[in-house]
């Protein structure tokens, strides 16, 4: 098992390397650079000034040279400086945003699991019941409505009209601490969290329903019943663990789905996470930030897949990695 994990991590390195090459190349292929915007905004400034800055920042070097510089710095843990935010270090800029996105992702995954799995189980136990039909309807809606649209409706109804939840940000005011800050954070995460988790909730609900139905019809469940096991034992011991096996595999990919969903959701709620930073960095051609975020997202997705494999082997004894 440990050998397997180490092997998997070693495979990550070339994958991440390829990822950075591709993103770096694509980013450079886009027209303009970090200074283009400033130049356009203030045409009275002598173009020479910008040209000198470009030279100083190394923006005129050939792309492979720029990449080599960047990757050797990253290898030493230095993501460089932002070209836009007054030269703040990228690491510094990302740190706070990263935590916000992480909280939002975990919160949304939590909502997804807590809502989808019990409803999925219920739907499977009472198929074609009223609640099952309701869940099916909700599932279709959840998958059909785009994130941003649901987000806008949520803001309009729950925030503007009813005033139950804040529509943007992470904290109600400056200088909050302890429990007060924690609850304010949670309160702010409700709408973006639900929005972000909507599609996932719908998906997992349907998956859970069909998995449980499948397992309930299997031979070993009939054996468990024939042994005289109670209904709850049959459901929670014999059925659930088997039904969760494919769900866990799916969850590994969910990290990637959540992160890409976060880009849009954070934008809608003006939530200061990696997603909003990513979009502004792309528009501003702040490539050091873009590259750093790409790398982090890449690592997270690979870790997600690895975790899914590990959980998979824990739940299913037939899977052995060695």
């Amino acid at each position: 098992m440990y050998k397997y994990i180490i092997r998997r991590i070693l495979v990550f390195i070339p994958m991440l390397f390829a990822l950075t090459v591709i993103v770096f190349g694509l980013a450079q292929a886009a027209p303009g650079d970090a200074l283009t915007g400033q130049q356009l905004a203030d045409p009275r400034v002598d173009p020479e000034v910008y040209e000198k800055q470009r030279e100083a920042l190394g923006l005129n070097d050939p792309i492979p040279v720029q990449y080599a510089k960047w990757i050797s710095n990253v290898a030493q843990g230095d993501f460089g400086k932002s070209l836009v935010f007054n030269g703040r270090s990228v690491a510094d800029l990302i740190e706070a945003r990263f935590a916000n996105t992480l909280y939002l992702g975990i919160f949304s995954l939590f909502i997804t699991i807590v809502v989808a799995i019990p409803i999925g189980i219920y739907s499977a136990r009472k198929p074609y019941s009223l609640l099952d039909y309701a869940a099916t309807g909700f599932g279709f809606l959840g998958l059909a409505i785009p994130n941003f649209f649901f987000g806008l409706i949520a803001i309009y109804v729950l925030s503007i009209n009813l005033g139950w939840f804040p529509a943007q940000g992470t904290l109600s005011g400056p200088g909050m601490a302890g429990f007060e800050a924690f609850f304010s954070r949670l309160h702010h995460m409700v709408l973006p969290g639900i929005t972000l988790g909507l599609a996932g909730t719908a998906t997992y609900m349907r998956y859970m329903r069909s998995e449980v139905l499948d397992v309930l019809g299997s031979d070993y469940i009939r054996t468990a019943k024939a042994k005289g096991m109670s209904d709850s034992n049959v459901l929670y011991k014999h059925t659930l663990r088997n039904a969760l096996i494919p769900i866990i595999t799916l969850m590994g990919f969910e990290i990637g789905v959540l992160l890409s969903g976060a880009v849009i959701t954070e934008q809608v709620f003006q939530y200061p996470g990696l997603g909003t930073l990513f979009i502004s960095s792309v528009t501003n051609r702040d490539f050091p930030v873009v590259m750093a975020i790409t790398l982090i997202l890449g690592i997270l997705i690979l870790i997600g897949n690895l975790l899914a494999d590990i959980f998979y082997s824990i739940v299913d004894p037939r899977i052995r990695y060695d």
């Binding site: 031979d219 070993y220 009939r222 054996t223 019943k225 042994k227 005289g228 096991m229």
Partner: protein
């Protein structure tokens, strides 16, 4: 047999409501008894309702299916009147069941030990340690080597024959009075089949259980069963002690079944399988259900379904040929 029956199935009907028009009469008015300690074979072609009869006794009939009528008495206690919860105390404890497919009958994510001990803990109220010790004993009893290790293993680590032994170990763990085995060897290698059947026969004797053995192998019947019930179209068509049934076969269907076993020492050209296939359970022919395939079909057969009648001592037959104790030469 003057003893009280252990199991008494009385006019049992289990129907599957397939859709608005079609009702599959999988088990249609079946009555029989099983006495303590005896081995009764239930035979018949695929689709004749053998498994559904067994599952009805266990009350494990799923969705479109329902037990719509009849009574099932176990030691005089009416099982169909028990609550769901009370029934869980009967399953595995008073009546145990072994299935056809050992490869999928065990839960893949729990150890063998876990799956045996959970029964002992539920029915026998044993603690963890007692249950574990007992599980090892049981695995030894059913001839599994390295039982101490096997309890920590998962089903996928065992062969089909070993898994069926585990199923038998589970089935006998709470010393049930009745063991139902639904084609327990069909999925196994020929060499393993005899071992498993011998093991079940041993266990039946050792634990003084009655055995309801479902099979379509008449060779197995002649070797292991005291009494045979032949099923066709959800009904019993012939029933007698094994020797008697094999020697003086009455029902044309049973004759067909016997004829369809190839006998090595005989001329294989005489192999007379039953023509045609079992009609679907939602579309039986009018009159006798076997009339569409019967070589001796008479006009009456297509109009009236005969009753199961005692025509000789211990020999019941459902056929117009034998009405009024009548004898026919074929």
């Amino acid at each position: 047999m003057t003893k009280q029956p252990l199991l008494d199935v009385d006019h049992l009907k289990t129907y599957f409501y397939l859709d608005d028009e079609r009702v599959a009469k999988a088990v249609d008015d079946i009555s029989f008894s099983v006495y303590p300690g005896e081995t009764v074979a239930l035979v018949g072609e695929s689709g004749s309702g053998k498994s559904i009869t067994a599952l009805s006794i266990m009350q494990l009939i799923n969705k479109p299916g329902r037990i719509i009528d009849g009574a099932i008495l176990m030691n005089g206690e009416e099982l169909l009147k028990l609550s769901t919860k009370q029934m869980t105390k009967v399953r595995g404890n008073d009546v145990a069941m072994i299935f056809q497919e050992p490869m999928t009958a065990l839960n893949p994510v729990y150890t063998i030990g876990n799956q045996i001990t959970e029964m002992l803990r539920k029915h026998k109220k044993m603690n963890k340690q007692q249950a574990k010790t007992r599980a090892i004993e049981l695995l030894n009893t059913v001839g599994i080597p390295r039982a101490e290790e096997v309890i920590h293993e998962y089903p996928h680590q065992l062969s089909g024959g070993m898994r069926q032994r585990v199923m038998i170990a589970m089935a006998i763990s709470c010393e049930p009075k009745l063991l139902i085995a639904d084609e327990p060897t069909t999925a196994l290698d020929v060499t393993i089949q005899a071992q498993i059947l011998d093991l079940m026969a041993d266990m039946r004797e050792k634990f003084d259980m009655a055995l309801l053995l479902i099979t379509h192998d008449l060779g197995v019947v002649s070797e292991y069963a005291d009494r045979v019930m032949v099923m066709y179209g959800g009904q019993i068509v012939e029933e007698a002690p094994t020797k008697q049934l094999l020697r003086t076969t009455k029902h044309p269907y049973t004759k067909g079944l016997l004829g369809s076993i190839p006998k090595l020492e005989e001329d294989t050209n005489r192999l007379e399988a039953i023509k045609g296939t079992v009609p679907p359970a939602y579309d039986f022919p009018a009159g006798c259900r076997f009339s569409s395939r019967c070589p001796f079909v008479m006009e009456k057969c297509t109009q009236v379904n005969p009753e199961l009648e005692l025509i000789e001592s211990n020999h019941n037959v459902r056929c117009h040929l034998y009405e009024d104790g009548g004898n026919t030469d074929e």
